[in-house]
């Protein structure tokens, strides 16, 4: 295996990575005052990345694939490969990153340390792209840990003792999880050599002699990934990290960190072990149970939160486990449901976080009971919030409904009817903690002056903050209503599912 980069069109994955690595370094060096250049650099990087990813998605759908491979370690290659599964997550990240960048530029207007912020911000998107495009387990691990390093400075960006304490908890979880994941990857690599995502099912012939080790390795991997995917015992860092600025919490909960964990679990179950091997080893059922408990536990805790962002955080804990649940349901429908939810949840949750950020930024609202009558004061933001909330509950024809529908089908097909009960129960709980907020927004009169109102002339809030929220709300509706269009999230999930099961 020569060490020079090989594979067809190897420069494309590199270009996608470079489109955020290079700006990251350049922005780090920019002095604080160069505000315009920094914004231009950010936006152009996001747009270039979006176009590259769109082109790759289009050509991957036509069957060809792109691969960059060179020797990183004795016996281990550094591989970036653009296959259907990779473009699923890369597409989501590229789209939502554009909106988060716009939102962050508006949100951080005039605050200190922005060069540092946007430097690590682009580094974070580079690691997310790396996670999406990783072609084998070790490359995935490299970018998975790079994500931890690039998100820590964002969590502690404000520099207040409270933020630093949150950062410390965040680190304790993620670095610990990383060490567990490393052990799992090392163990698996010792058993099966360089574990590539391309030849799934390679482990099936290893079941005979060391099935016990395979099980141990699986649960080590799931534990390591479970930290970022916020599975129940390992979700503690998520609510605490809410102290970070709004674009960071949107980024952590909708796009990067949480999804990286979920995507990792998808990769492990489908590409590392292969669904049949996982079923043979009896790993899927416990995973389904774990995901279900997280779903219910997350929703229960969300009920009792008084702060908007804390409630959204616990809602994320439960929603991400839908993806894990979908994967654990053996059969194509469950997969489609899980993968579709990976995209839909991203769209819906980021809308909710943008709106929460708008409320905090323009009216100084942090608690739910301060939201009375906000609908009248900020109509567009509140409409977006309502769409997001209904989507999360699973009200048709929004995106949330589509993925829950397929999850239901998958549950029946996999012969686990109790999962249907879990889905229904969690939808009810979602309604229980979202509807009161929507009610306060529209049907409650404004009770006294807003805590810290900032006027933006005739607009309800700054354009930079409003446009992303509305756009993602429109996308949520689109993903639901136009689910059958060729490049909709659902169709792409189906395409991936077909490739997974026919391989």
């Amino acid at each position: 295996m020569n060490t020079f980069a090989t594979g067809s069109g190897w420069w494309l994955p590199l270009a996608v990575l470079g489109s955020s690595l290079v700006p990251a370094l350049v922005i780090m060096l920019l002095s604080e005052q160069r505000q315009r250049t920094r914004t231009a650099l950010n936006l152009s990087a996001a747009l270039i990345k979006l176009s590259l990813v769109a082109y790759m998605t289009w050509s991957v759908a036509r069957g060809n694939s792109y691969e960059l491979r060179f020797g990183m370690l004795p016996g281990v290659d550094f591989v970036l490969r653009a296959d259907a599964m990779a473009m699923l997550f890369a597409g989501l990240s590229a789209v939502l990153w554009l909106f988060t960048t716009i939102y962050a530029i508006g949100y951080l207007e005039g605050s200190p340390n922005r060069s540092r912020f946007f430097g690590f911000f682009s580094l974070c998107v580079a690691s997310t792209m790396g996670i999406a495009l990783a072609g084998n387990l070790v490359t995935f691990l490299v970018f998975y840990e790079l994500l931890t390093l690039s998100t820590y400075p964002l969590v502690v960006h404000r520099g207040t003792p409270k933020a630093l304490k949150a950062g410390r908890t965040y680190l304790r979880y993620t670095i610990g999880g990383g060490a567990v994941l490393l052990t799992g990857v090392a163990l698996l690599s010792m058993i099966a050599g360089d574990v590539s995502f391309a030849d799934t099912g390679a482990l099936v012939n290893l079941i005979a002699q060391d099935s016990a080790l395979l099980r141990v390795a699986f649960w080590l991997l799931i534990a390591g990934l479970g930290v970022k995917a916020a599975l129940v015992p390992l979700h503690g860092w998520l609510p605490v990290a809410m102290v970070a600025p709004a674009p960071v919490s949107a980024l952590l909960h909708a796009v990067a960190v949480v999804k990286a964990g979920a995507f990792g679990i998808v990769r492990v179950v489908y590409n590392v072990y292969g669904v049949e091997t996982a079923q043979l080893l009896g790993l899927l059922f416990p995973l389904a149970v774990l995901a279900s408990t997280t779903i219910v536990w997350g929703s229960m805790r969300a009920l009792f939160q008084t702060e908007i962002k804390k409630r959204l955080a616990y809602s994320t804990v439960s929603q991400v486990s839908y993806i894990a649940l979908g994967i654990a349901l053996f059969g194509p429908w469950g997969t489609i449901g899980g993968l579709a939810h990976l995209l839909h949840q991203g769209l819906m949750k980021i809308t909710l976080f943008f709106c929460a950020g708008n409320y905090a930024e323009t009216l100084g609202i942090h608690d739910i009971d301060e939201l009375d009558g906000a609908g009248r004061r900020m109509p567009a933001t509140s409409v977006a919030f309502t769409i997001g909330a209904f989507g999360m509950i699973g009200v048709p024809p929004l995106a949330g409904f589509v993925s829950k529908w397929y999850l239901g089908l998958g549950a029946l097909e996999a012969g686990m009817p109790w999962v249907l009960g879990v889905l229904v129960l969690s939808s009810l709980l979602n309604a229980a903690y979202f509807l009161p907020i929507v009610h306060r927004l529209w049907f409650r009169p404004q009770a006294g002056p807003w805590p810290d109102e900032r006027s933006f002339g005739k607009h309800e809030t700054s354009r930079w903050l409003l446009m992303p929220a509305v756009a993602t709300a429109v996308f949520t509706v689109g993903a639901g209503v136009l689910a059958n269009l060729p490049y909709s999230p659902l169709r792409w999930a189906m395409l991936v599912s077909v490739r997974v099961y026919t391989q």
Binding site: M28, L73, F78, N113, L141, T148, I175, M190
Partner: protein, 496 residues
């Protein structure tokens, strides 16, 4: 110029520069600066040429004085030695340029830079190259002494009371270590009649005099490599010395004696050393990892924290022994590759971290970790360099440190020794503990930090960043350098 003819220049150049620097000690700053820069360039150029030469021609041997081995002394350069020579050239050039910049900065604001820094600097490089390329046991002793004395001299140049006491303590430890080593050499010569390493490797048999000799040499070299519990002299010496000096001490000087230990155990006397002894070294290494990490967590001064981190990171090197002695061929090969990569990655990362810490302290004015509050806003690039170096030390990808930890993990799993797996992971978490402790202090926005940071030369960040970036870049492409470093080593024979 074939590799074989390049070998002696690797020693003649630094030695001549050392002599030149003694003669130029009183000259104006400009002349010494030019001479030093030229020296650094020549050194790096020659070492890269040697690297390329050895890559083409394989093992290069230069019989000194024209006398073949048992009578005369031979200089030998295999892949490992060539890599370490290049590493020495790169790290010492960066530290030298840093020292030059700080000398100029000290002169501009009136303070006097320590005199006679440069002769000792070049003598240190001579000693290091002498050790990497030596093919003779007694020649290694003289190299060790030259290394020890010039290092002690550089520590003593600090001028403060603390630097004198740590220099004295360092000298005491170094002298005891060298004497133990010399006693071992005496016994080996008595038993086999020759001092040349290749001859010894063939003649050596497992008998009491040899075992005692190897044991004495091991104790001496462990004392000079500051292996736990013999590490007492290292933290004060590295913590108190001038910034570029502590960078070179931690990155290169302690590796010299370890390199000799590796050659002894695996090239000269592989069948004399017992797995039991290797487990003993491994346990002491584990102790170093945990004790050093614990000390670094509780240390209040920044440079002492980094010095304790050296003690901890050296522990990883000693965990290599139980993984390589008495285990299968693949486990030994993986462990060797992991250890050698750790030597290189740690040298780059630790020197970057020391240089970055020195810059931060110079800017803040006080050496405490707690005093770093708000430095993140004024010195972003030094903090970034510190961070990059921290990534490699923690063994987080993508970095050389990660690859080394990965290979050691694979070796622990392949040889079924789970205990070392836990130590490696625990060490990584401890390192993360004290690296992020520094970050937590420097990210803190202290309201009253209105410009009490003094301006430091921008070049400082350049050197720290280059070294840290090299350590991270090593993480992406360490297969080729590793293959080059390990071919021809006896321990890799089973796998190649």
């Amino acid at each position: 110029m074939s590799a074989q003819s390049l070998l002696p220049w690797m020693l003649m150049v630094p030695l001549s520069w050392a002599t030149l620097m003694v003669l130029l000690a009183q000259q104006r700053d400009a002349i010494t600066r030019v001479v030093n820069v030229v020296g650094a360039l020549v050194l790096v150029g020659l070492s890269v040429a040697l690297y390329a030469g050895v890559a083409q021609e394989g093992l290069a041997v230069h019989a000194l004085g024209g006398w073949s081995a048992p009578l005369g002394i031979a200089l030998r350069a295999d892949g490992l030695a060539a890599t370490l020579v290049v590493l020495t050239a790169v790290v010492s050039s960066a530290c030298g340029l840093y020292a030059m910049t700080s000398e100029r900065a000290a002169r501009t604001n009136g303070k006097s830079a320590p005199r006679y820094f440069w002769p000792l600097f070049w003598l240190l490089i001579t000693a290091l190259n002498g050790i990497w390329l030596a093919g003779d046991l007694f020649n290694l002793y003289v190299g060790l002494e030259l290394l020890g004395l010039s290092a002690v001299g550089l520590v003593a140049l600090g001028g403060s009371e603390a630097s004198l006491s740590s220099a004295l303590r360092y000298l005491m430890a170094a002298l005891l270590g060298s004497l133990a080593y010399l006693l071992g050499v005496a016994l080996m010569y008595a038993a086999y009649g020759t001092l040349a390493l290749p001859e010894l490797a063939e003649l050596i048999t497992r008998e009491p005099m040899t075992q005692l000799a190897i044991a004495l040499m091991t104790v001496g070299l462990c004392l000079k490599t500051a292996l736990f519990p013999l590490h007492g002299w290292l933290p004060p010496a590295h913590g108190v010395a001038l910034t570029p000096v502590s960078a070179m001490l931690s990155a290169l000087v302690v590796k010299g004696s370890f390199y000799i230990l590796f050659r002894l155990w695996f090239e000269v006397a592989p069948d004399v050393v017992t797995p039991l002894a290797a487990q003993g070294l491994g346990i002491l290494g584990a102790g170093a990892v945990l004790w050093g990490g614990w000390q670094a967590l509780r240390e209040s001064s920044l440079k002492m924290l980094v010095a304790h981190s050296t003690v901890a990171q050296l522990g990883y090197l000693f965990i290599f022994f139980p993984l390589a002695v008495g285990t299968g061929a693949t486990a030994a090969a993986l462990a060797t590759q992991g250890m050698l990569l750790h030597v290189v990655a740690h040298a780059l990362a630790k020197s970057a971290m020391f240089l970055a810490s020195g810059t931060l302290i110079a800017s803040v004015g006080r050496g405490g970790v707690a005093d770093l509050a708000g430095v993140g806003r004024h010195m972003p690039m030094s903090l970034f360099a510190f961070g990059l170096a921290g990534v490699s030390l923690m063994g987080l990808p993508p970095s050389g440190g990660f690859n080394a930890k990965w290979l050691l993990l694979q070796s622990a799993l392949a040889s079924g020794q789970w205990f070392w797996l836990l130590v490696l992971l625990g060490g990584g978490l401890l390192t993360a503990g004290y690296v992020f402790r520094v970050f937590r202090e420097s990210f803190l926005e202290s309201p009253d930090d209105a410009g009490q940071f003094t301006k430091t030369p921008r070049a400082y960040d350049l050197f720290a960043l280059t070294l840290a970036a090299m350590s991270v870049a090593l993480g992406l492409a360490s297969r080729a350098p590793l293959r080059f470093m390990t071919n021809g080593l006896a321990v890799m024979a089973g796998v190649q």
